[in-house]
Amino acid sequence: MFDFSKNYFELFGLPVGFRLDTAQLAARYRELQKVVHPDRFAAADAGSQRLSLQGATLVNEAFATLKDPLKRAQYLLALRGVEQDPQKSTLNDPAFLMQQMELREALAAVSSAQDPRARLDALLDEIGGMIKHQLARLAVQLEDGGADQLAAAAETIQKMQFLNKLHAQAEAIEADLEEAI
């Protein structure tokens, strides 16, 4: 089998941690794909082709995980043995949840705003800012690495999931608006 024993950071020859140099990550990704990608084995035997497919798939998955801060954080928590099951844990932050509801209502009302485009842009900016804020917290929490902080990181991750979902909704509305033009 392909060497699946390494964690994604080790596979890319990078230190295990939330902060990473994304340019370095991208460069490593390309070096790895140049070695494992199926295009390198198009004229090879079936065994090499199978292995290459598995290898390239793993490298793609690792890259997608490390590249995205949210996925990277989730992966780090998993490596450190922190359980993250959205079905089991509920977010206990009434203020945050209230804010989510308000934002959702605001998004639903965009189409009836006087200038839907401008209203949407403002909301996109607001949600984007909140995501950035949570990301900064996440970096601190994961860097600290203490058990309390890791538990807090799991909560931050949940909040980011809420926010990302909202952002995706806002983008979908944006696409509808463009379509209507």
Binding site: R19, T22, Q24, Q33, V35, D45, S48, T57, A139, E178
Partner: protein, 631 residues
């Protein structure tokens, strides 16, 4: 039949023996084949000197005609002359009802999921029609290059879904071609312009062909292409320009557009000729032959521009959407590559140039640019350029998902995910003792299953009976480097793998293909047994050649003397079987055996190569960069 030119085994297990390879642009309106000869990629002409093969197939009682002769017969024999079948390939009966109303064919629906067109020579699928075109191009390449092709690269629109890609590959199989890779057309165009050799940057490929429109944003970084986003419309192109002009002309002439298939066909021909003439002239005369008598007028560039304006605007709005998907703005685009014959129309170039704010690239013939890029890639994949650093990374163009409760889609692999990719999803049983479940795989961006494309239905069987909710069935959806989907299922608790039965929604089953293959071979004078034998011999030699090359490069470093002896012996056994046996199955078994015997070595090589690639990068090398922070 021409046999592969391969050196005697052992004599020259040359690691870099030149293999004959070709790139094929299987287009909606025209198709081409190209190859790299003496270091230059060029399209290959037929014996009359024509490079473009019209993608038109005429079925007659006593045979099949492909290309120009078929196209000429289209007006007189519309029912048996099939063009633009690329619009139908990999599509279902419902799609065909929608598209087909504009196409002058007689569709028949039988029990198969694949729509068929009735012709004088019997009912045919778009896959078989495409195979006829591929056969001609394959033969042209063999004839010109002087030998059997080791493999081909066939281009497809970046927007093609799984069913359409699979159908294209099936057509190649029917045509007797070994497909190295399906390559996205925009990527091929970028390769043809050598953008992969240039500076890092973001490029847009605008491809307006006869029947399809594609726009792709490619990023080149460190010699690697990534498709950042793709979008398009599989049913918009120059044919629609022709139709818009033809309908307008018929209206001007006071004729109804739907009167008669032959009339519509004629009007389309006149419209196309006028459009082409207007690329070089301000006005062009029109002569329409109608049942009621001839009709003459003149068409100007401005009139043409006005007629096609809404269609071109539609492409621009797709460009806008794709830029947003890619997360870049129009002014970040370095080069805009024009592909497809319809980009010769001046109004198209003007509007594209306006939108991106720069002159589009038009130096390479827009009809040939894709085939040329495919040929370059085929040459690399054949291993003819071992030191070449070129590597194309691709994405899946449409999200893959499954149907959940209430007819909603759950995305498993979102669009623009770099392929190959695999994602797993766990399912559980709904009832006590349940031993089977049905899964419906769809492709598309919409929330409702009914708005997406149905790809396949899977039935998981032989699930061990348990109480409801206890079984945990992990289904892995894997998309390979060609963008084709494969599914695997396994029950987690017991480790039993549930068997997956794939019913492609719009594809042919393996049996159907084998049947067609058999029929086409019976038709010719070829002996199926002989053909299989040759195929297995070729495959065996390919395996031996690849293994010998690997051993020569690192066999001593990675293997103990005992292991090396064992592998040499295993290789020798296959050589003997290939030399002696006339039995395809025996050779096939011997190949499998050798592959099994060498599996550990192949794995060792892969891991060693990865170590080499990462060698010199030690973790502590980056500690000082830690402070730079996350994005």
């Amino acid at each position: 039949m021409a046999l592969l030119q391969i050196a005697e085994p052992g004599q020259s297990a040359a690691p870099h023996a030149h293999r004959l390879a070709a790139g094929i642009d299987l287009g909606t309106t025209n198709s081409l084949v190209a190859s790299v000869r003496s270091g230059r990629a060029e399209t290959l002409p037929d014996e009359t000197g024509a490079h473009l093969l019209p993608s038109v197939v005429r079925y007659m009682r006593d045979g099949v005609v492909v290309g120009e002769a078929a196209r000429k017969a289209a007006a007189s024999d519309p029912l048996n002359t099939l063009s633009s079948v690329k619009r139908l390939i990999g599509r279902g009966v419902a799609d065909v009802k929608r598209i087909g109303s504009e196409l002058p064919y007689e569709f028949v629906t039988v029990d198969s999921t694949v729509p068929r067109v009735r012709t004088i020579a019997g009912d045919v699928t778009a896959i078989e029609v495409s195979a006829e075109i591929l056969k001609i191009l394959g033969e042209r390449a063999r004839h010109t290059l002087g030998g059997e092709l080791s493999g081909v690269v066939i281009t497809v629109p970046a927007y093609f879904d799984d069913a359409q890609r699979q159908a294209t590959k099936d057509a190649a199989r029917l045509a007797g071609l070994h497909v190295y890779r399906l390559l996205n057309e925009p990527t091929a165009a970028a390769v043809a312009y050598g953008l992969d050799r240039g500076a890092d940057g973001v490029h847009a490929i605008y491809d307006l062909g006869g029947g399809t429109f594609d726009v792709s944003i490619l990023r080149l970084q460190g010699g690697v292409f990534e498709v950042m986003a793709t979008g398009g419309d599989t049913a918009l192109g120059g044919d629609d320009f022709d139709a818009a002009v033809a309908i307008w002309l018929l209206q001007q002439a006071g004729a109804s557009a739907t009167t008669d298939r032959g009339v519509m066909r004629h009007a389309l021909d006149v419209a196309r000729a006028a459009k082409e003439a207007l690329a070089n002239a301000e006005t062009t005369p029109i002569a329409l032959g109608l049942p009621a008598g001839g009709w003459r007028t003149e068409l100007s560039r401005a009139q043409l521009a006005a007629l096609i304006e809404p269609l071109v605007r539609k492409t621009i709005s797709t460009c806008r959407r794709v830029l947003r998907d890619a997360g870049v703005t129009a002014d970040e685009i370095e080069d805009v590559v024009m592909v497809g014959g319809s980009t010769r129309t001046l109004r198209v170039r003007e509007l594209v140039g306006e939108f991106f704010g720069r002159e589009p690239l038009v130096d390479i013939d827009p009809d040939r640019v894709v085939a040329i890029g495919a040929a370059i890639q085929a040459d690399v994949l054949a291993g003819n350029k071992p030191d070449d650093e070129m590597l194309l990374l691709d994405v899946n163009p449409l999200s893959l998902g499954i149907e959940t409760m209430g007819g909603l889609t759950e995305k498993i692999i979102p669009r623009n995910t770099t392929i190959p990719v695999a994602r797993a999803q766990e399912f559980t049983t709904f009832k006590d003792g349940q031993t089977a479940m049905a899964i419906h795989v769809v492709q598309g961006e919409r929330e409702l299953v009914s708005d997406c494309r149905s790809l396949a239905r899977f039935e998981l069987r032989e699930i061990p009976p348990m109480v409801a909710g206890a079984a945990r069935i992990r289904v892995t959806f894997a998309v390979d480097a060609d963008g084709l989907l494969q599914v695997e299922a396994r029950e987690q608790a017991t480790g039993v793998s549930a068997s997956v039965e794939v019913k492609p929604s719009y594809g042919l089953t393996d049996d159907e293909i084998t049947g067609m293959l058999q029929a086409s071979i019976d038709h010719a004078h070829d002996d199926i047994q002989l053909r299989r034998l040759v195929e297995e011999q070729v495959e065996a030699r390919r395996v031996i050649e690849a293994l010998a090359a690997a051993l020569a490069s690192d066999g001593d470093a990675l293997l103990t003397p005992e292991e090396r002896t064992a592998i040499d012996a295993a290789m020798e056994r296959l050589r003997l079987v290939v030399g002696d046996s006339r039995e395809p199955a025996a050779i096939e078994a011997a190949i499998k055996q050798l592959e099994n015997d060498c599996e550990f070595y192949v794995e060792r090589r892969m891991n060693s190569n990865i170590r080499k690639a990462m060698a010199g990068h030690r973790v502590d090398e980056f500690s000082e960069e830690d402070g730079r922070g996350a994005e």
